[in-house]
């Protein structure tokens, strides 16, 4: 298509939008409502995910070593952990370090443990590992348990299961809501544009008789849909950006207790605003273009 004709059709799309300003406004309103809900679900889902990751990283799989394990056995466990794909980080805690840690927990009462120094130390040495994939924690644990010199393992499998369920719920729930709302938005926008198309069905018929291709007729309407989608995306971005920024600001400055802890894990506005804008624009364009293309289908069969 020649650029001058493309420009002409895009201009027609803008004119359509202006002429149907009231209906366009209604469409924008509906799409904004849908995108706001989509955005809230998305933000919830990624923050739940981030929170679950945080909890997961706090979960240690602890490999306790027999007191009489040989240095070779300890080295073998060390190299096994080092080469294991599911272990993100690990560190070795010697018997002495374990005791010091306990004394530290007890604070001023730590002195009570003074007598357990040296050979009297009942605490075992251990490897403390964080895992990458919580779903595979049981398998990793079983592999470690089979090694010589390993006394026992502390594996937080139940918590791991809860976290996995939480992440899955956030992902599938968010995806489900998203799919439903995108569908609703497309139906609404296609109905709005259908009114324009219906009002102009005679014109469309004339265009067909002078030899216009479907793409040529469709373009201004798609442009109209994309304008509606873009404005809706920007408005949604404004609303949710403001709300999210305010929420984070509130949590970091005034929240106490567990809420304050949660606020440190939430994804910051600076890390997410460009994703939000991009996602809203892509959804807005998709909804707008798909909505108008669907609404035209019937009237193009001339």
């Amino acid at each position: 298509m020649k650029f001058s004709n493309f420009k002409y059709l895009v201009k027609q799309g803008f004119l359509n939008f202006k002429e149907n300003s009231l209906m366009s406004l209604a469409s924008i309103g509906v799409v904004v409502s849908c995108l706001v809900i989509v955005g809230i679900c998305g933000l919830l889902a990624i923050n739940i995910n981030s929170f679950a990751n945080f909890l997961g990283s706090q979960n240690e799989l602890v490999v306790y070593i027999y007191d009489d394990a040989t240095q070779e056995q300890i080295d073998a466990i060390d190299s096994f952990i080092k080469s294991n794909d599911n272990i993100a980080t690990y560190n070795f805690v010697s018997k002495e370090e374990a005791l010091e840690e306990q004394m530290g927990y007890l604070g001023e009462y730590g002195e009570l443990l003074e007598s357990y120094q040296g050979d009297e130390n009942p605490l075992p040495a251990s490897f403390r590992c964080t895992v990458k994939n919580l779903a595979a924690i049981q398998q990793t644990s079983d592999e470690l348990a089979a090694l010589d010199g390993v006394e026992l393992l502390s594996t937080p499998t139940e918590l791991a299961q809860v976290l996995i369920t939480l992440k899955n719920a956030a992902f599938y729930g968010g995806f489900g809501v998203l799919a439903i709302l995108v569908f609703v938005s497309i139906v609404v926008i296609s109905n709005t544009i259908r009114l324009t198309v219906f009002a102009r069905r005679k014109e469309i018929g004339i265009m067909k008789f002078v030899g216009a291709t479907n793409g040529f007729i469709r373009l201004p309407f798609v442009v109209e849909g994309v304008i509606i989608g873009t404005i809706a995306a920007v408005v949604t971005f404004g609303i949710l950006s403001g709300a999210y920024w305010y929420l984070l600001h509130y949590l970091t400055t005034t929240a106490t207790g567990w809420l304050a802890m949660v606020s440190t894990v939430l994804i910051t506005y600076g890390d997410i605003w460009y994703y939000m804008l991009a996602v809203f624009l892509v959804f807005g364009w998709f909804i707008g273009a798909a909505g108008s293309a669907i609404s035209m289908k019937r009237y193009l069969r001339v």
Binding site: K2, Y8, G205, M207, V210, G211
Partner: protein
């Protein structure tokens, strides 16, 4: 140019609008397709424009077999012909100039050529001064001339006019018919679909008469007399 080969069109449930019609219209001919209301003229027109498809038989227009044409080829087929409708079918939101320019844009002609061609075509139909008017600001005869200008803008090989004088005054009808004659004189095939016997016999070219979905008379227009 136009070939109807044993064409039948049946509308559901069982209305036969065209019954085994065969006819041939050659390049450069000026043909009247004549018949009363309900004779099958509209069906004939719709089949030529591929608005409808034949139930059986072949309709061939400008080399396109419309019974077998692919959906995406239809716009290209329509660009090879110019159509003038009884109700003009101008786009009311566009000026006279834009209505004609639009037909050119559709065929992907650039702005530069449009700016050259549209004023020329408007001068041919005597509407240069009305370029900026909207269709509703024009008389019926003027609107019909705009429709004709639009049909001619990309120099089609075939012009089909559906009751071109149906909605305009008799003196303006003469004007339109003279324009169609002029178009035909430079080699363009012209097919006029009408119910007006007098008009057909006055311009006494070839007349194809349709009645009850059949061709009842097809004459080269030499010894025809108005009934």
């Amino acid at each position: 140019m136009i070939d109807f080969k044993n064409v039948t069109k049946v509308y559901k449930p069982d209305i036969t609008a065209m019954d085994k019609v065969s006819l041939h219209i050659d390049k450069g001919e000026f043909v009247f397709v004549l018949g009363p209301s309900g004779a099958g003229k509209s069906t004939f027109l719709k089949l030529m424009l591929r608005e409808e498809t034949a139930t059986s038989g072949d309709v061939i227009v400008n080399g396109y077999n419309l019974s077998k044409i692919k959906q995406r080829e239809i716009p290209y087929m329509r660009r090879t012909l110019g159509v003038v409708f009884q109700d003009f079918r101008l786009i009311p939101t566009m000026t006279v100039y834009e209505n004609i320019a639009f037909a050119m844009r559709v065929t992907n002609i650039g702005e530069k050529d449009i700016k050259k061609r549209v004023p020329y075509i408007l001068s041919l139909v005597g509407l240069s001064s009305k370029a900026k008017k909207f269709p509703t600001q024009l008389s019926g005869g003027e609107q019909q001339r705009v429709a004709l200008a639009r049909a001619l803008v990309h120099s089609p090989r075939l012009v089909i006019a559906d009751e071109p004088t149906g909605n305009i005054d008799p003196e303006l009808s003469v004007e339109i018919m003279e324009l169609l004659k002029a178009i035909n004189s430079v080699g363009t095939t012209v097919v006029v679909v009408t119910h007006e016997h007098e008009l057909a016999y006055k311009y006494a070219k070839r007349i194809i008469e349709i009645k009850d979905g059949r061709v009842v008379n097809d004459t080269a227009g030499k010894a025809v007399h108005a009934r």
